[in-house]
């Protein structure tokens, strides 16, 4: 489990993959993003997207799920080898959330995270902030989402 100093800057780590089925696309969108191209195949066919596609909030939610599961795997691995487990704090926020292409029903998105930089926090001694680029890429290798996350992490050197 990474302390601030341990993050592998620049290394792209795949966190998980998900294939978006038509039923879950519609169920999510009916509740959270009720636009025709997310909730109905016929309306989607008439839209500028041309086919049913997932809400961007749905595709980014999987990004969070896989980030949490990735962190939990790091914690489990650290515990197994008796290594200290660093605390990760809340996120001050996210920046530059983009959905450059739609995710159509049946598409498989590969999610990845890449640490961009770390810096020590001036307001919170013993802690720092990691900025990471989080991405989703479809089965054709095309980017479908990206955002920059900032998360607090404990420093090894206090």
């Amino acid at each position: 489990m990474y302390f601030l100093e341990d993050f592998p800057i620049g290394e792209r780590i795949e966190t998980g993959r998900h294939t978006f089925g038509a039923e879950e696309i519609k169920a999510f969108a009916l509740r959270y993003d009720p636009q025709g191209f997310h909730t109905d195949e016929a309306a989607a066919a008439r839209s500028h997207f041309g086919a049913l596609c997932a809400s961007g909030w749905h595709t980014v939610a999987y990004s969070m799920r896989f980030l949490v599961q990735h962190r939990d795997r790091l914690i489990a691995a650290a515990r197994q080898r008796g290594a200290p487990v660093a605390a990760w704090g809340p996120s001050p926020g996210f920046r530059e959330l983009k959905w450059p292409r739609p995710v159509f029903a049946g598409d498989t998105v590969a999610y990845a995270t890449q640490a961009l930089e770390t810096r020590r926090s001036s307001s919170r001694p013993g802690w720092g902030i990691i900025s990471s680029l989080n991405t989703g890429t479809n089965q054709h290798g095309e980017p479908v989402l990206s955002f920059i996350a900032a998360v607090f992490a404990e420093c090894r050197e206090k």
Copy 2:
């Protein structure tokens, strides 16, 4: 239904309200943000939040739902009075997504949108981009989420 020129710059428009129940908080988080303080009351009580609270992706998803419903009400009202209905395009993205405070089980969030500025698109003649500040405020008047959205809208003056 607003053309680019019609957006009421600076006017705060409440789009909807939602009270977050414990069961839906846990159901969303189990799927999309499986962290203990979102999925389990006892784990949440031991966390730095102190009580069960909603995933930020859950609270922001309602923001989208209410924005879509607000737009649909504007479209319906324009049609009813025989006014032309402007097209709104896809969103190039969102910026500065922040969750300044947790949303606890039982909290009611009031969602609002406020147009900040409009500008004509250089790449897409006859269209422009609206930037809007979207917020959520809890029953104590405290901000719980905010983000800046950019959305394409048709111009009245071509």
